[in-house]
């Protein structure tokens, strides 16, 4: 006997969206569960403040729910949801113009607490990670966002263009410049490069 959960889990995003629009509000939970990690991680990477990241992720899902009637399905549900999330993050960043970050990010703190990071053994790796993140933090917002969406959120070029509402050529150009700036920054931080 197939459970209700198993039946709905197999549905595509489009099917779930249609059914939620048709009145089955509870099925929206399936979409939330499916995308809660990428949406939350996206918010956390841009916002860096635990509570705010959660608020933004929650607001993104709420806005998506409210906007389902207007969602025409031209883009994928996930792309549309990421776009809402990005707009919220951009608003947050505009309001909190000050850049820089806490000495130990929430993510790093959690890893240490969980024992996923061996403080003694992984000190060098942690140092490298920190250098990469510092280099990322120093990037201009428009470059940081494409790097984050591509390498951390694993979005395709097309998806990034749709999320940021820019042509694909712009994504490529920004990515090229971002890579160059990152390499320079890491070189200055003393990280070795391939010869």
């Amino acid at each position: 006997m197939v459970s209700e959960r198993a039946r709905t889990a197999a549905k595509t995003d489009e099917e779930l969206v249609e059914r939620v629009r048709g009145g089955e509000t509870r099925l929206y939970a399936q979409l939330v569960e499916r995308y809660q990690d990428p949406v939350y991680s996206m918010a956390a990477r841009f916002v860096r403040a635990g509570g705010d990241a959660e608020d933004i992720a929650q607001e993104a899902f709420l806005r998506a729910y409210r906007g389902l009637a207007e969602f025409k399905g031209e883009a994928r549900f996930s792309t549309w949801l990421y776009r809402i999330t990005w707009n919220l993050c951009a608003d947050w960043m505009r309001r909190h113009r000050k850049r820089g970050r806490a000495p130990l990010s929430m993510e790093e703190a959690r890893e240490v607490a969980d024992g996923r990071v061996d403080l003694e053994g992984d000190m060098l790796l942690a140092e490298q990670r920190r250098a990469v993140r510092d280099a990322l933090d120093r990037l201009d917002e428009k470059y940081r966002v494409v790097v984050t969406l591509l390498y951390f959120q694993k979005l395709s070029y097309e998806e990034i263009a749709a999320v940021l509402d820019v042509p694909m050529k712009t994504v490529e150009t920004r990515l090229y410049r971002a890579r160059r700036l990152l390499k320079e920054s890491l070189r200055r931080a003393g990280m070795e490069e391939p010869t």
Partner: protein
């Protein structure tokens, strides 16, 4: 060729560093339940338990058009009643209240006619006097 290979190696190196620093960010425990609570609250506040589908949009558009045309008609009516009153307040005052409130339109006309009569009479008188002198 060698330069392109070097650039590609650099990109791979950078990609690896970025991937290593990506970490694993997951939504906090109970996140989806909190979102769904908010969604249900939202649905209840809106007085419905479902999201309106595209079918309800034409009706909403029709209501909006009816409301807009009603408001426009009301504005035109109000304008057509008020504008003349504001522009010509003296002319629109009722004749019966003219005496109490000052000279009404008829009084003004009467006054103008009397003035004209005096002028005409004066002119005629002068002419008659002048004629007899001649």
């Amino acid at each position: 060729m060698r330069r392109r290979r070097a650039s590609s190696a650099e990109d791979t190196w950078l990609e690896e560093r970025l991937k290593r620093s990506a970490g694993d960010l997951r939504a906090p425990r109970g996140f989806s339940a909190r979102v769904m609570d908010a969604v249900y609250r939202e649905a209840m506040t809106a007085g419905r338990s479902e999201v309106p589908g595209p079918a309800s949009q034409p009706m909403r558009r029709l209501y909006r058009r009816v409301a807009l045309s009603f408001m426009l008609t009301a504005a035109v009516l109000a304008g057509s009643l008020l504008l003349p009153r504001v522009s010509y307040p003296r002319l629109i005052q009722p004749a019966s209240t003219g005496a109490a409130l000052g000279p009404g339109p008829s009084a003004a006309v009467r006054e103008a006619l009397a003035d004209a009569a005096v002028t005409v009479q004066g002119a005629l008188g002068e002419r008659l006097i002048g004629g007899s002198e001649q």
